[in-house]
Symmetry: C2
Subunit: 384 residues, 2 copies
């Protein structure tokens, strides 16, 4: 199969910002792309060769779309997995596979998968309904504090809440969920593992994620993580073991906790380009998006080490603003050293919506982190 000539078609399920950044690299390689998304305003509408409108959770939409392409990938996990399975049975290349997605889509299933494979993760209990959590607390089977996680359809910090008292459960979705031990961690870390269909494997450096305390969204990603080498080594080992267990093709972003005792516990994984890898565009020899492409097209993987230190700042909608987006002071941050804004092209902002990110690169990581804080203080995503 020659990806670099016509006739070959790559299908992407989802047309959001991850797809948009992936299209940058399909364009670089001149790979023909088809994108399926439910929104006519999806960021991927431009720069894909074909844009198809359709619901990613709909069997027919995904199946019919998949029939038209040679290799199918995703930029979001919430897609119709049965359709992927049907396509695989007909010999279609689907990366990540329906099996990988099934193991990941439901967080309870994902956690059980870690237990089954002796992969370290925080202790948890599984509940069919939110009301069962209340019962468990009342009969002493569950103690505060714990982390409630919706089993399905969480995204960008939605679907996760620290619960310290019964009233914290109010207003949460009533369906399947887990209650996880609240891990008192030193750091949240992540490692992106790339694996191509031939089994070649490479890992990006361990990154450190600083989270916004309320929105539960990543505020800064720092590459490489400022942790002892022994801890970094352990984190890479856990990530590689996780990758091995999933036997995925493409990227696998493994989010982990570094506990107070320097243990590594898996938090969750994503089988695709990930927020914790955006700084690779500017900081690494190979960006995570190019690497995902190389992996799913079974090309040799690229170098994963860094050219310079990188820090990523998420641009999320400011609280109190909804409507047509304005990036206040974006020109000021472009005056700072090594700053590149990435604007995702969403027309409407709302509080905590991911609207873009800013990468800061510098030979000196601490200087990059300092500038990142200046960026964060200066730019505001507001509405007209």
């Amino acid at each position: 199969m020659n990806f670099f000539s016509s006739n070959f078609k790559l299908g992407i399920l989802g047309g959001g910002q991850l797809g948009k950044m992936l299209l940058n690299d399909t364009r670089k390689f001149d790979i023909y792309t088809c994108v399926l998304d439910a929104s006519n305003e999806a960021p991927c509408k431009i720069a894909s060769n074909e844009f198809h409108l359709g619901d990613l959770m709909d069997f027919e939409a995904v199946y019919n779309f998949g029939k038209q392409v040679d290799v199918l990938t995703i930029e979001i996990e919430n897609v119709n997995v049965d359709a992927l399975e049907a396509l695989e049975k007909e010999g279609k290349k689907v990366y990540p596979s329906s099996q990988t997605l099934k193991r990941i889509q439901n967080k309870a299933t994902q956690k059980l998968f870690y237990l089954d494979h002796n992969l370290p993760t925080a202790a948890f209990s599984r509940f069919a309904y939110l009301s069962e959590i209340e019962d468990a607390v009342n009969n002493g089977g569950l103690a505060f504090p714990f982390v409630w996680k919706a089993a399905q359809f969480g995204y960008d910090g939605n679907g996760v809440k620290v619960v310290r008292k019964l009233s914290d459960l109010e207003g949460l979705p009533t369906g399947e969920c887990i209650a996880e031990n609240l891990v008192p961690f030193k750091n949240e870390l992540a490692v992106i593992v790339a694996r191509n269909a031939s089994g070649e494997i490479k890992t990006f450096p361990v990154v450190e994620m600083e989270f916004h305390p309320e929105a539960n969204q990543v505020e800064y990603v720092i590459c490489p993580a400022r942790i002892p080498e022994a801890v970094a080594k352990k984190a890479v080992e856990v990530a590689l073991n996780t990758s091995k267990a999933f036997n995925h093709v493409g990227l696998l972003a493994v989010e982990m906790f570094q506990t107070q005792n320097d243990e590594i516990l898996i938090n969750e994984v994503a089988p695709r380009p990930h927020n914790s890898g955006h700084q690779t565009i500017e900081a690494s020899f190979t960006s995570q998006f190019e690497q995902h492409l190389r992996a799913i097209l079974n090309l040799p993987l690229g170098r994963t080490d860094s050219k310079v230190g990188g820090v990523m700042v998420n641009l999320v909608g400011a609280e109190g603003f909804s409507g047509n987006v304005v990036y206040e002071n974006i020109e000021s941050i472009m005056n700072l050293d090594g700053v590149t804004p990435h604007i995702y092209g969403k027309k409407q902002t709302r509080p905590f919506r991911k609207m873009g990110h800013v990468t800061i690169v510098n030979e000196d990581l601490n200087e990059a982190r300092r500038i990142a804080e200046e960026v964060k203080k200066t730019i505001k995503v507001i509405s007209e």
Copy 2:
């Protein structure tokens, strides 16, 4: 004017590979783009917001296109300058300006401009017709060897020929031309100068260009040039003086000769992203394309120093092959360290046509140069 919101439109004259790479950065900033090109198969057809079909040399086509945008730029010099002038008179922002383009489009005018501004360049004579060269040779006014250059419409090494005997003139275009002293040079160098509308100026590092002896096309661009610091300093000084004389907005790529006596002579300039700056995508803190955007939108200019050493290899159609393009052994070169192919998306190859380029980055520039040679030997642009 807010470039990062809707309503603002950037117009680009020309839809080739330079425009395609520029669109990567307009997409990154989510800037709305309109592209005018005569070919329905132009690489910019994808990834622009609006693609308009039209002849770039046609007054009406360029004028009517320009009326619809807020800022107008080019990715090729051969456009209708009268239309640009008319647009400027109506207050439209055109970068580079019609004046800059007028001074550059005609190589005889360009050379006279250097003389008028005391900018160093090789001695030359101007001829209205090719036949006048023959007369000059016959009456002793011109001695072999010299370099014939068409005054207009040269591109990619077309329009330039070393003339060692009268028969070398056979078959050349008969129109306006110059005969330039053949400079015995040590190196061909280039410096890209960026200048925004407020007058902020930055220069990229001096690069070294190794040319293909026959096709007169750049084979390797090496960044930074492996030359003494004093020579580099002189080259930057000449480039800055050239930039000052043109008073351009946007990029100005200044190609120069380093003579045997380490003098710097201007060869020619291009007021746009340039082949000598492609390695900036991977090697520099700011790519030349992002820098051009920053300049023409009057944003602060980005850092121009390098993260790592960079070498660029042009991918041109192999001799003896014409038709649907095939990139032979592209997968093999992707197995080499720090190698990124850029495929421009032209369907048809022909001998020496620019079909793409490959960037090789490495902490060690000599290692990058070594790998570049391996790339050059391995990949072949052929036809089906």
